[in-house]
């Protein structure tokens, strides 16, 4: 079968600036490539859980339709060539009233933080007018999840939607599990809504004057803000990475005196605990849960679910990063150190529980306003018969490839190369072993031809001469 060679449809996001950019682009990605740093090695292509990266012209290219923004490539790149596009701190100047909504992960990042109030007050020194903990909103989401589970009319087990990378993974690789996703707003979205509603109602502010910024541990959340799947538009106005403001925040912590700490804490320990794997589950008041972290572990569990196993479990918490959000690719502190640090904040919150009934005041409808769709990435062709032919060709090509999965062709493994070939995005000779075979066959053929001489030019009349000549090779 002759297959026309096409160029891959690579991420368009690379060349686009995200600030004030095209929010509605369904293939926007925070994870991008730093062209200059990329050496075109095979580290990221091999670890990508959706086989979304190919090396072309010496650079790793992300296939936008496949990327789920899990950040695994950022973590594994030895040259730091994979990065997440986030907003710079300066973006807050675009708004009159600036609000930070830090992810619970923030509590595990600083040894210097005396208390939650100390940490939250430090944000004020960075130019924010107000701070509202996403951990507080997480507790409201936990309440809503508990209510939902009481009703018992859900598809078991419920799969947490806390990690957007996992939701996108389900969209592309586990479509039959879409109905199991917990379709409640994320703590980040809810925090932004609460803050804006409060300021509009209580302070008579204009909503367009308020800028709410998520302090993010990961790339997946940035994508959720720029291209949300659960609603038309995110309530959050920007995402600033923890590592980008780490140093400024550290300095600010040093400047905030104990007596200057403001009473900003609203969250209890259950909200803070969301930062670690298992935290969301523990808040549900049931032992019948399973918490899995690390994208490859998540895939194993989702595969079991697809095979109808784990029916006896009520809730599955799935986080793409090892250890949960504390292990996010945009955090600074080592995961295990962060786990110990955050424990201090959890214990403090257990002791000084804050009287805050805002959870009861806001009667928010947390259900998603739109559903996530299946985004097939595996399908070889829209036409079933053509897909059958392509599958047959794919199997023939696959059998013929060496099966070493070396990655030198730019695809993560031989099977992926075979797929690329039938899709028209690669050639069989992209395989160095195939190429060598071809060169060898051609060389042998050339030698054979070389030894042949047209009779009129053949000056040596003895046949024995000819054999001699052949023997030389």
């Amino acid at each position: 079968m002759f297959i026309e060679k096409k160029t891959l449809t690579f991420s368009q996001a690379q060349s686009r600036s995200i600030i004030g950019g095209d929010r509605m682009n369904e293939y926007f990605h925070s994870v991008t490539l730093d062209e200059e740093k990329c050496k075109g090695c095979t580290n990221c292509i091999k670890r990508c859980p959706t086989e979304a990266i190919r090396v072309r012209k010496g650079k790793a290219r992300i296939i936008a339709e496949r990327c789920i923004d899990c950040g695994e490539c950022i973590r594994v790149c030895p040259y730091r060539a994979k990065k997440a596009i986030t907003d710079p701190l300066e973006i807050i100047k675009n708004y009159k009233y600036k609000v930070a909504i830090p992810a619970p992960t923030i509590y595990g990042q600083f040894r210097a933080a005396r208390s939650t109030n100390h940490l939250l007050t430090a944000f004020k020194l960075l130019g924010f007018d107000h701070v509202y903990e996403v951990a507080k909103a997480a507790e409201i989401v936990s309440n809503a999840t508990r209510e939902l589970m009481k009703k018992n009319n859900f598809r078991k087990p419920l799969i947490s939607s806390a990690c957007p990378a996992v939701v996108r993974l389900i969209q592309v690789r586990f479509p039959s599990l879409i109905d199991n996703i917990l379709k409640l707003e994320s703590p980040m979205e809810l925090a932004a809504r609460i803050v804006k509603d409060e300021l509009v109602k209580n302070e008579n502010m204009r909503i367009e004057d308020i800028g709410v910024f998520f302090i993010t541990p990961c790339a997946a959340k940035v994508t959720s803000i720029k291209a949300p799947y659960e609603s038309e538009k995110s309530c959050v106005d920007g995402a600033i990475s923890i590592k980008d403001i780490y140093l400024k925040l550290l300095n600010a912590l040093g400047e905030v005196k104990e007596e200057a700490e403001e009473q900003l804490v609203k969250s209890g320990f259950e909200g803070i605990r969301w930062a670690s794997s298992g935290g969301e589950s523990l808040a549900l008041g049931t032992d019948n849960f399973l918490a899995v972290d690390g994208i490859h572990n998540v895939i194993s569990i989702l595969e079991e679910l697809e095979n109808d196993k784990l029916k006896d479990v009520d809730f599955i918490e799935t986080l793409a990063c090892q250890g949960g959000c504390l292990g996010g690719a945009l955090t600074v502190e080592n995961l295990y150190v962060a786990k110990t640090r955050i424990k201090k904040f959890i214990d403090m919150a257990k002791k000084n529980s804050v009287e805050d009934n805002s959870a009861n005041i806001y009667e928010y409808d947390l259900l998603w306003t739109r559903n996530v769709e299946h985004k097939p990435i595996m399908q070889l062709d829209d036409d079933f018969e053509v897909a059958m032919q392509k599958l047959e060709t794919l199997r023939t090509i696959s059998e013929d490839l060496p099966g070493l999965d070396c990655g030198a062709c730019g695809a993560p493994n031989c099977k992926a190369l075979a797929e690329d070939i039938v899709r028209g995005n690669a050639n069989e000779t992209d395989c160095v072993f195939k190429l060598r075979e071809k060169v060898r066959a051609l060389t042998i053929q050339m030698m054979e031809i070389e030894s042949m001489m047209p009779p009129v030019l053949d000056k040596d009349d003895k046949n024995s001469d000819k054999t001699d000549k052949k023997d030389k090779y």
């Binding site: 039959s176 697809e306 095979n307 595996m378 070889l380 829209d382 059958m388 599958l391 794919l394 199997r395």
Partner: protein, 143 residues
Amino acid sequence: MGLSNSIIRQNYIIPADDFSLAGEASSSVKKMLNQLGVPPKTVKRVSIAMYEAEINAVIHAGGGTADVAIDKEKVLITINDEGPGIPDVELAMKEGFSTAPDSVREMGFGAGMGLPNIKRYADKLDIKTEVGKGTRVQITVLL
């Protein structure tokens, strides 16, 4: 392309007593169906039915073979084994009935849901079995 190309065939060997490998055949079929663009719900039915049959062959029959044929209309899965056979098929089809040993049950298998699950997800289920000789389970899922 001729008619022969309209059927995709794939054969698998189901290894004996190896739970870690059980399910590989159904995973591979699942991947093929996804590549063909078969709707997710149908893919799920095929892969669960086949997975259960595969596990049955591992637990009860010391392995066997799985032959899969896919065409435009259907997926036909034939699992053959040379195990002990099923003395009472009707009883085996009842939910919760199981002859799996405790060691297997401890691993979370053998809950007596295998055959009933296959029946639930298949459009057609045909079981031919002879005590002492073996069993052939044929599963059809329409596309």
